[in-house]
């Protein structure tokens, strides 16, 4: 432990911590909307790190990851809203959501993990769509999900008397709802970072890497490749479930359209763009892909007005254009991602050469 806590690294740690604590107040100066964007950046980082276990560590291409997020979100929505009149506490719902998402992951993984590469991608893509369509249609004959209208008035996170949705004054400082969620999300994100790090440097993490490198050799030394892959799938799914629960609580509203294919692709893009398998890279990818489009949205209209005197392209369509362009450029010039692990950079450099 002591070899890490040198004076320099402790100073760095203190600075990072101070920045993380101050951030929501700095963002809050620009309005609570910016705090919400910040929150989504962290939520997406959380999701991307969950998917990183599946894609980055175990090398399984999952295009339906958003399904597990949906399971978590609907679990929270159904267990803590007037829809069924249930109002379970967060410490009960979050684990239930994680377990249900994990079960969904196992359910999808068990029959499909024999498939390789592209085939697995197609099946997971289908699964993601199936889950969304289920949410969309499970309102008849028995109304479970309330269909396309979604579920409203979802309970926020409440710990004891402490409500995360409301503004309150703590030690004379006014803290808004989004700012409170920010701290909760940061805590959760630190948790998933720790889990990612520890998994990577463990017996299981090595087995994942071995499978990625050479599945036949991995089998020959006795790795039960199917079970170990399933483990990655289930782990990733559980984190998706937790993120979904927080999403539902934070928004107070869920509907199937939040869980479309493009969301799965966005999260995958965060992982790939940032640097597959490399924790800091994945976080960077998630933060960039959340913040930049928002910043763009604020910038596009005034910039166009200044240049052309009128708005030629609406921000939403420009967003996809810029996003696509960014992906192409990154893959062309930094194929291992913006911030890849040193090993992966070497690996790809050799392949491209």
């Amino acid at each position: 432990m002591n070899k890490w806590l040198t004076p320099r690294s402790s100073l760095g740690l203190v600075l990072v911590a101070a920045a993380l604590i101050a951030l929501p107040f700095i963002a809050g100066m620009g309005g609570q909307a910016w705090v919400r964007i910040l929150n989504f950046a962290i939520l997406y980082a959380f999701l991307a790190l969950g998917l990183n276990i599946v894609v980055g560590f175990a090398g399984l291409l999952d295009l339906g990851y958003i399904a597990f997020y949906a399971v978590g979100a609907y679990t929270w929505a159904l267990l803590a809203s007037p829809h069924f009149g249930l109002h379970l506490p967060f410490w009960a719902i979050l684990p239930i959501g994680a377990v249900l998402a994990c079960a969904a992951g196992a359910l999808l993984g068990a029959p499909t993990l024999k498939l390789r590469g592209d085939y697995l991608a197609i099946v997971t893509l289908g699964f993601g769509e199936i889950v969304r369509i289920f949410m969309n249609n499970l309102n008849a004959p028995v109304n479970i999900t309330n269909g396309a209208q979604g579920i409203t008035l979802i309970d926020p996170v409440i710990i004891g008397q402490f409500k995360f949705s409301a503004t309150s004054t703590i030690f004379g400082i006014t803290v808004s709802g989004p700012q409170k969620y920010y701290y909760l999300l940061v805590l959760l994100a630190l948790g998933v970072i720790l889990v990612n790090y520890r998994l990577q440097h463990s017996r299981i993490g090595r087995a994942w890497q071995a499978i990625r490198e050479d599945e036949i050799a991995a089998k020959a030394i006795g790795i039960n490749t199917r079970n170990v892959k399933l483990l990655a799938f289930a782990m990733g799914a559980s984190f998706g479930g937790i993120a979904g629960g927080i999403f539902a609580a934070m928004q107070g509203f869920v509907s199937p359209e939040s869980f479309s294919l493009i969301e799965s692709i966005m999260i995958l893009a965060m992982v790939v763009l940032g640097g597959m398998g490399h924790i800091p890279g994945v976080i960077l990818g998630a933060v960039l892909l959340t913040i930049l489009p928002e910043a763009l949205r604020y910038a596009v209209v005034p910039v166009q007005k200044a240049l052309f005197g009128e708005v030629l392209a609406d921000p939403e369509s420009l967003r996809m254009l810029v996003f696509g362009l960014a992906l192409v450029l990154v893959m062309r010039f930094r194929p291992a991602g913006l911030w890849p692990s040193p090993e992966r950079r070497r690996e790809l450099a050799e392949k491209v050469r």
Binding site: R206, A210, A217, A218, L231
Partner: protein, 257 residues
């Protein structure tokens, strides 16, 4: 030698690929503690025999009995669990992992830590992890490449890669170590070093099944030798007998010379 207990028994193992009969009812017996040679011309079915035994292929007929119980076909990880480890004719290392990590993965099948152990990193997990590392270091030393521990496997020399593959296989604590042409592509010195290594492994109590083209190496090392030709077993006997069998000279040594 014939009084030693049987470790592996192949019973009429057959395998074909379309029209190619790669193995025709091959039966042979490997006894505990011996170095058993499997030779034959290219395409004779030697590698296919390995693949059937280790569960990579499902035999079309027959089967294997290992250490008193049948081997389950189509369950590659089980073979290692039961105590069969192998190397590959065309080396299959985890190229982007270090030499040390390659051997550490080899400990997978003899260790237990799961997801929760990894996340909580409790005492038992830390102890196991330390033991894995220690054993992997020992094995690298054993095969003589401890100075390359932190190099990526793909950056090792050819001979070192062969050694690393053996170290990784040994990490699974095999009862039977199967080597598929370990001397292929090696020069005289390297082959001699390999011979010493294999002698050492045998002396430490591991039974060895050796596929090899280097006739001198096989005849010098093996207690018994089986010859395959066109998927069929030609003879199974001590080297002195095999070497002078006319069928073998015709099928294999005759062709090679």
């Amino acid at each position: 030698m014939s009084d030693l207990p049987v470790l592996l028994e192949a019973r009429a193992v057959a395998k074909h690929f379309g029209g190619v009969k790669a193995l025709r009812d091959v039966s042979l017996t490997i006894r505990q503690g011996e170095v058993y040679g499997l030779i034959g011309p290219n395409g004779a079915g030697k590698t296919t025999f390995f693949n059937c035994m280790t569960g990579l292929y499902v035999p079309d007929g027959g089967g294997f009995v290992f250490a008193g119980a049948p081997l389950v076909a189509d369950a590659p990880h089980r073979a290692a669990e039961r105590g069969i480890a192998r190397t590959f004719q065309n080396i299959r290392l985890f190229g982007n992992m270090t030499a040390l990590e390659n051997v550490m993965v080899g400990r997978h099948v003899r260790t237990r830590a799961g997801v929760f152990g990894a996340i909580l990193r409790n005492g038992a997990t830390r102890d196991e992890e330390a033991a894995i590392r220690r054993r992997a270091e020992e094995l690298l030393h054993y095969v003589g490449i401890d100075d390359r521990a932190d190099d990526l496997a793909k950056n090792l020399s050819y001979g070192d890669q062969r050694r690393l593959e053996i170290a990784r296989a040994l990490a699974t604590e095999p009862k039977l170590l199967c080597l598929d042409e370990p001397a292929a592509g090696m020069n005289g010195t390297e082959t001699e070093e390999l011979r010493v290594l294999i002698e050492g492994i045998r002396a430490d109590g591991t039974t060895i099944l050796l596929i090899e083209h280097d006739v001198k190496l096989v005849m010098g090392l093996c207690d018994r030798v089986a010859v395959l030709d066109y998927g069929a077993l030609v003879i199974e006997d001590v080297p002195a007998v095999v070497q002078h069998d006319p069928r073998v000279i015709e099928a294999y040594i005759g062709v090679a010379a």
